[in-house]
């Protein structure tokens, strides 16, 4: 609630000095179904900048930053160290809420178009989106753990940095294609579009992509969590039948 109010206040503040422009966006699809043959999904994000005042010559141009944030989960980051000659997990830092997926697409490199302070305020870059201040753990160098989180997530393709990925046409129309990976988790993927000018966020627009398991996947996942015993027995029966069926089938083939 408080965060919401702060956000509204910030939005108003950000909108006041530059009333002239707004950003409006849409998605090619706002529903992604995880079915058995799901192999990633490409989302087209598009929209326009609405200029209320006529465009002044030599005025600084607009830039756009789009972020897609997957459902947040608590995570722990472990660090290995050598104990008795073996590499084992020794120290851990836990973070209560970290996005499972995070993509930042921009029209130009972030450090060129956005002030670091604005970045921190709106939590735009992945570094701010993971909220490094929330990390807790009995270690001397918490920063190296949050850095490792970013590095690992980036390497596995869960955190994407797509510089110059958004195509802005005549300061009005924009579009970007973002490929969602194959290892998506269920939930709402908040998509934020920021209109940026002279390093500051002028306006923002928010929408969401809903990722949901469908069909067999949904049924199995629900069964596994709601009726684990029945699910376990089902797994067992499938294995028993498959084992028996296989030997019966091959006996039949051989005859």
């Amino acid at each position: 609630m408080r965060a919401g109010l702060t956000l509204i206040a910030l939005l108003l503040l950000a909108a006041l000095p530059a009333r002239s422009a707004e950003i409006i966006g849409a998605l090619s699809q706002n529903r992604v179904s995880l079915t058995a043959n799901f192999s990633g999904s490409e989302i087209l994000i598009f929209g326009a900048i609405r200029h209320d005042a006529p465009r002044i010559e030599d005025a600084p141009s607009y830039d756009i930053i789009i972020t897609i944030e997957g459902p947040r989960h608590p995570v722990s980051v472990w660090r290995k160290a050598r104990t008795l000659g073996i590499w084992t997990n020794v120290e851990a830092v836990s973070m209560a809420s970290v996005p499972s997926f995070y993509a930042v697409a921009t029209t130009a490199p972030m450090n060129v178009i956005l002030d670091p302070e604005e970045d921190a305020r709106h939590r735009i870059s992945a570094y701010h989106a993971i909220r490094p201040a929330q990390a807790t753990g009995a270690v001397a160098d918490i920063d190296s753990f949050t850095e490792a989180l970013l590095r690992l997530r980036t390497r596995e393709g869960a955190y994407l940095r797509l510089d110059r990925w958004v195509y802005l046409d005549r300061d009005v129309l924009f579009r970007a294609n973002v490929a969602l990976p194959t290892n998506l988790t269920e939930g709402a993927y908040t998509t934020r579009m920021y209109l940026v000018r002279e390093g500051a966020v002028v306006h923002q627009y928010r929408t969401a992509i809903f990722v949901r398991k469908e069909g067999l996947e949904r049924w199995l996942h629900q069964l596994a969590f709601d009726q684990p015993l029945i699910y376990g027995i089902l797994a067992l029966i499938i294995a028993l039948v498959a084992g028996w069926g296989a030997s019966a089938a091959f006996r039949y083939i051989r005859q």
Binding site: L34, T35, A36, N37, F38, S39, G40, H73, P74, V75, S76, V77, W78, R79, K80, A81, R82, G85, I86, W87, T88, N89, A92, S94, S100, F145, A148, L149, R151, L152, R153, T182, N183, L184, T185, K213, L216, E217, R218, L220, H221, A224, F225, P228, L229, Y231, G232, I233, L234, A235, L236, I238, A239, L240, A242, G243, W244, A246, S247, F250
Partner: protein, 306 residues
């Protein structure tokens, strides 16, 4: 062809999974082992979360063991009484193993425990098998093989609570089989294996059972222990992926049939040496990873999920 796995929450190539199933099935057909000790590390390797790999590996073991035990029942090479005694120990061990698995997962040490268990058990068993296999190979090459004693009496045979096992031709205490069953049950839960590769040598060398009933009896009790473990994993950690198991099983049963045919063409002693080398190389690879400085010291674990 990609297939999205609902519990692992990753999408994997169905052909790769079929291939893993078939490859492991082939080996299990050739050597008469469940192949869990290969499936689980291979699943780690292609990016399935370790907990899902372990739980699903156990499920796959059920299927391959059923296939095998049916053939053995027909040949009457299953000691049901011994199997039941081993099973009692196995279920207790599996329960303990599940509890340990939960505990280690929460401590962040499950990967280490699984890897260490692999190195120690595969290493020791591999060495024993290798040595025994080479010796047997040499023996069969000699013109006048020395006759072995029917069975040797060791300390195991002096314990109380003796029982008659007719099919095996044994009159021994039930304590050693229960202990053997228990330790295999613990391993089944932690390592995602059926434990055949430990059970078989233990039955031969510790219990002194005749070789011909060993494989069938071991498979018989593995079905129940692995089945119980599957259900327990499903209930305690929701980590059994039915779809993943199904694809592995389909590959596995086809591979097993091919493997059985190939196995019949090879010399038994040569097979044993080959299996030993395979086991040793898996152990060696995992040990190498534990000892060498890793490229990445950090790892992420999503709390509350696997």
């Amino acid at each position: 062809m990609q297939i999205y796995l609902p519990i692992a929450e990753v999408s994997a190539n169905a052909l790769t999974l079929l291939g893993i199933g078939a490859g492991v099935g082939m080996l299990s057909g050739m050597f008469g082992v469940g192949g869990g000790f290969l499936v689980t590390p291979l699943l780690f390797f292609i990016g399935i979360p370790p907990a899902v790999a372990v739980a699903t590996g156990v499920n796959q073991v059920v299927a391959s063991s059923v296939s095998g035990v049916l053939a053995h029942l027909k040949r009457k090479t299953v000691d049901l009484k011994m199997g039941t005694v081993l099973l009692i120990g196995g279920l207790v061990g599996s329960g303990l193993g599940i509890w340990l698995f939960r505990l280690l997962t929460n401590l962040g040490q499950i990967d280490l425990a699984v890897q260490l268990a692999y190195v120690v058990f595969l290493g020791v068993i591999g060495l024993l098998m290798f040595q025994e296999g080479v010796r047997a190979w040499v023996r069969t090459s000699r013109p006048n093989p020395r006759r072995r004693k029917l069975h040797t009496h060791i300390w195991v045979h002096n314990l109380p609570l003796k029982m008659k096992f007719r099919t095996s031709g044994l009159y021994i205490s039930v304590i050693p089989p229960i202990l053997v069953g228990m330790s295999v049950g613990i391993l089944a839960a932690i390592m995602g294996v059926g434990g055949g590769f430990i059970m078989v040598p233990a039955m031969i060398y510790l219990l002194g059972m005749p070789t011909k009933v060993v494989v069938g009896t071991s498979l018989f009790q593995i079905i129940f222990v692995a089945g119980f473990t599957t259900v327990m994993h499903a209930v305690t950690s929701h980590s059994v992926d039915i779809l993943l198991a199904l694809v592995l099983i389909i590959g596995g049963v086809i591979g097993a049939q091919i493997g059985t045919q190939v196995g019949m063409k090879l010399k038994a002693e040569a097979l044993r040496v080959l299996l030993a080398l395979l086991v040793l190389s898996v152990a060696g690879k995992i040990a190498f990873d534990l000892l060498v400085t890793p490229d990445e010291l950090y790892s992420i674990r999503v709390v509350g999920r696997h």
